[in-house]
């Protein structure tokens, strides 16, 4: 079978998940794994307008999804983590749609709002993105 899972799954450990803002700011959704560096404090980014606020929220959702993705790769039967993953995935799709409708597309195949705009918008490496 192509996608055969073994029966000896790893027992899910009870991980304490932090919220979206804290997870993104720290770069870690898992409280027990967080390891700060010396006196350095990660700071919360401050959006300057509505567009930036929505894009930053998309960044946060995408980050949480990725960190949960890695966790679920090892603990696929942890339903609590999976429910969080599902909720964030739903919110992510919703926010991306709203952002693309109002500001700019994030994926070229979403460029379906009347004209081809992929070239018009800045690239993330140019700064000023959030």
């Amino acid at each position: 079978m192509l996608f055969e899972f073994e029966t000896n799954m790893i027992t899910p450990s009870k991980e304490k998940l932090v919220d979206l803002d804290e997870g993104f700011t720290k770069g870690n959704m898992f409280a027990n794994l967080y390891d700060p560096y010396k006196h350095y404090e990660p700071t919360c980014l401050k959006p300057q307008n509505e567009r930036e606020a929505l894009l930053l929220h998309i960044y946060k959702l995408d980050f949480a999804l990725n960190d949960l993705n890695l966790y679920l790769d090892l603990y696929p039967t942890d339903m609590e983590a999976y429910e969080k993953f599902k909720k964030y995935a739903y919110d992510y799709e919703k926010c991306v749609h709203e952002y693309e409708k109002n500001y700019q597309v994030l994926e070229v195949c979403h460029d379906t709002y009347g004209k081809y705009t992929w070239l018009d918008n800045p690239w993330p490496w140019e700064g000023n993105h959030v």
């Binding site: 770069g27 898992f30 350095y40 790769d73 993330p124």
Partner: protein, 185 residues
């Protein structure tokens, strides 16, 4: 397969030019502990992982690392944007400038170009995962050195984010290693 998304894993918005930091941070694009080495290492090793756990984890971390490659290259690009010849000479970038101008080329902090000999694929599960754990620790150490060198928050914050990802990845690789070790690989 892959799809490009017009965003970074964490925003990079650096206004203050700093050629010394550009040269130092470039090492995480083209050095032995770089994001590029990490991405290619896990991408290549995933094919010989024994089951879905290892295949998935290596595949998914490899993709995340490619996003980090773009973050690092963005930092270097913004830190060196608009540098004058005088600044390039003064900050010791004349060797780099000779071949690459202000383009972004994967070399380490002392100018050696990227090479795939920075990583291995042994086809042996435990050997590969041991390397992955070591690689995450070495990248964490490199980020700490970069943070020690940096003075501006707009540089420090993305570096803190990237450092923390090394810690998460190390722990996931270790969990996977322990699982395969118990299974007798």
């Amino acid at each position: 397969m892959f799809k490009y998304e017009k965003k970074l894993p964490y925003p990079v918005d650096i206004k203050k030019k700093n050629l010394k930091m550009a040269k130092a941070i470039l090492t995480q694009f083209g050095g032995s502990n770089s994001e590029l080495a990490a991405s290619l290492r896990y991408f290549s090793q995933k094919f010989s992982m024994p089951d879905a756990y290892g295949q998935s984890l290596l595949n998914d971390i490899a993709c995340e690392e490619l996003g980090h490659v773009e973050m690092i290259a963005s930092m270097v690009s913004q830190l060196s944007k608009g540098a004058t010849i005088e600044e390039i000479k003064k900050e010791g970038l004349d060797d780099y400038y000779t071949e690459h101008g202000l383009g972004i080329y994967p070399v380490n902090a002392s100018g050696s170009p990227f090479t795939v000999t920075y990583f291995a694929v042994t086809g042996d599960t435990l050997a590969d995962l041991s390397e992955d754990m070591a690689a995450e620790q070495k990248a964490r150490a490199t980020y700490e050195h970069l943070i020690n060198l940096a003075e501006d928050e707009e540089i420090i914050q993305p570096l803190l984010f990237l450092r923390q990802r090394e810690i998460v990845h190390f722990n996931r690789f270790k969990e996977l290693y322990d699982r395969y070790n118990e299974m007798g690989y």
